[in-house]
Symmetry: C2
Subunit: 345 residues, 2 copies
């Protein structure tokens, strides 16, 4: 216990047993304030509403007396809320929509390789084709200003929106809402990527297998600088040595399930049925730090990263004219210093 997580070792980990495997996850406390950290002796721990709730506990110290923890704490990790969701009726049959059509037989879309094309068709046709397992993927955009505004289900698909509601426990998501996106897919995989906005993914029709990795795995998953998508096929590579030191999480989501995705968790999705329909609600969980300006997809990197990349380019340029050995010596040291500042060294 103490003021500094690093020095006093008060980081919180969550151990989840499934079969013969135990997953260990570092919990991100909602408050970084040490005074607001739980006592963790005799506490009760409960998973609820996409959160880990910690309550109660206390201890008697021979020197200092007895303390009871009277606060309730919560921490974030990806969580599925199970429950009944209403199934939407199809709406706006004749509305024209633009969808991804994957060019590969195996339906594995890759954003970097651009192995898909965009096709335009009416919503009814797309639904019928997706229902047949065609390699189509609809990620809804704003009807009015698709290149400028984020999608809003109530504006873009009012018929569907009327029938969709998030459970009451997720009122925070509604308060902080950024966008609500309809996702319809046939037999295609969504490539590995991350979103900068936190979001909840509500499965309506069909089911999906999602593989998620904590943000700390980013260096091992071939994300190019500045890119939020990777070409790593995690479904094929999951059991290989390539991903041996990553910490994958698997989520099987079916109708009525809501998956909470904390910001920056890397994830990929594969359908386990012909068609999958979901509503994905993005919300702001940071009070500040988002880049100003356009962000249609909720995955525009934080302002500090965009600025930081410019600074990194400037630093690198200063060393360009120096011999390779000297350049490597100093840039390695500067990279180490950045990691130390991050608290990861």
């Amino acid at each position: 216990m103490g003021g500094s997580q690093t020095v006093n070792g008060q980081a919180m980990y969550c151990l989840t047993a499934s079969g013969s495997k135990v997953d260990v996850d570092k919990l991100k406390a909602c408050s970084e304030d040490a005074a607001n950290k739980p006592f963790m002796i005799g506490s009760s721990v409960l998973c609820h509403g996409g959160r880990v709730i910690i309550a109660g506990g206390g201890a008697t110290c021979f020197s200092m007396g007895t303390f009871w923890d009277t606060n309730v704490y919560q921490a974030q990790m990806p969580t599925i809320l199970s429950g009944d969701r209403k199934l939407p009726k199809e709406g706006g049959q004749s509305t024209e929509v633009v969808v991804h059509e994957c060019l590969l037989e195996n339906g594995k879309m890759d954003f970097n390789a651009k192995n898909f094309r965009y096709i335009t068709d009416d919503f009814g046709t797309i639904m019928t084709r997706a229902n047949n397992g065609d390699r189509l993927y609809l990620r809804s955009l704003s009807n009015d200003k698709p290149a400028e505004q984020p999608a809003k289900l109530e504006d873009d698909y009012p018929g569907l929106a009327a029938e969709f509601s998030l459970p009451e426990q997720l009122s925070y998501v509604k308060t902080q809402i950024f966008s609500s996106v309809l996702r319809v897919s046939g037999k295609v995989n969504m490539w590995l990527h991350y979103d900068v906005m936190a979001n909840v993914y509500a499965q309506i029709v069909g089911s999906k297998r999602m593989i998620l990795f904590p943000p700390s795995d980013v260096s091992q998953l071939a994300f190019a600088p500045g890119a939020s998508s990777s070409s790593v096929d995690v479904f094929a590579a999951l059991e290989t040595a390539k991903l041996a030191s990553t910490r994958p999480h698997e989520a099987m989501v079916g109708p009525g399930d809501v998956l909470f995705l904390p910001p920056l968790w890397l994830h990929a999705a594969a359908p386990t049925t012909n068609m999958s329909v979901a509503v994905n609600v993005f919300f702001r969980d940071l009070s500040s730090g988002y880049a100003s300006g356009r962000d249609v997809y909720g995955n525009r990197d934080l302002a500090a990263y965009e600025k930081g990349r410019q600074d990194v380019a400037k630093i690198a340029k200063q060393f360009q004219q120096l011999p390779e050995e000297i350049r490597k010596f100093y840039l390695t040291r500067l990279a180490d210093e950045l990691l130390q500042a991050a608290g990861s060294n």
Copy 2:
């Protein structure tokens, strides 16, 4: 062969067999220009004058015809020039000098721990005490302006300077000279450090064991950001797991030997006789990049690093208010990007 060392694999390595061990060193070519890289087929390789000289060679290609390499190339690595040096007489017996006196029985000085004190005495007394193996270390400074100017043997010890000369092969060192430093030590170790200036270390009296590491080992040897000295006791740690992935070089230097130290090679020294006397000549081997302003010791970091550290602090500050997980995610990516710019990823 080709324009890019990284892509075309045209880096040069030097394999040196000694006993049952083979050392592998990457050679730093004097020119980064690919057009000035040797052909390396049938070439002759010769170590001479602190340089690796590559000459001759050629090949016949069925498609492109016959090519002969008519250039002579050279590359840098630490090298001892052996030969007879004149032994200096003691000079300026009554001149007052400031020396390090190590406070530890084992004589292992540590710059960071400051386990030594500075004492002032006349040169004759210091020489006598060092000759007895007392734990003293004299690193000469400029007589006139010790806090401002680098040492110059001819100004500081004209009597000794008259009897010291570098061999003709090192005329480049004389042309590019930055400072010439008298080093007198009893039974004390010089801590692990690096110099930014290239230098030649000419042993005059007694002998020393030096351990050297290539600049690429810097991350493994606990150099704090901005520090050119480390507290790692490499003599004790050399055979331990801690240094298992470093690439140490050992040099035993005796009277008449000249050791060439390329810039940024990390090194520590231990005497193998009671007293060691050496002249250390620092020289500029970069046409630009040195920090402007004072540099008494020849180990002030390059301007680009001093500037880069400020930029790194600025970047880190931008992330200070963000949650730990997000901060680590982005700072790790920025560190990776810096390493990629260095060409080491």
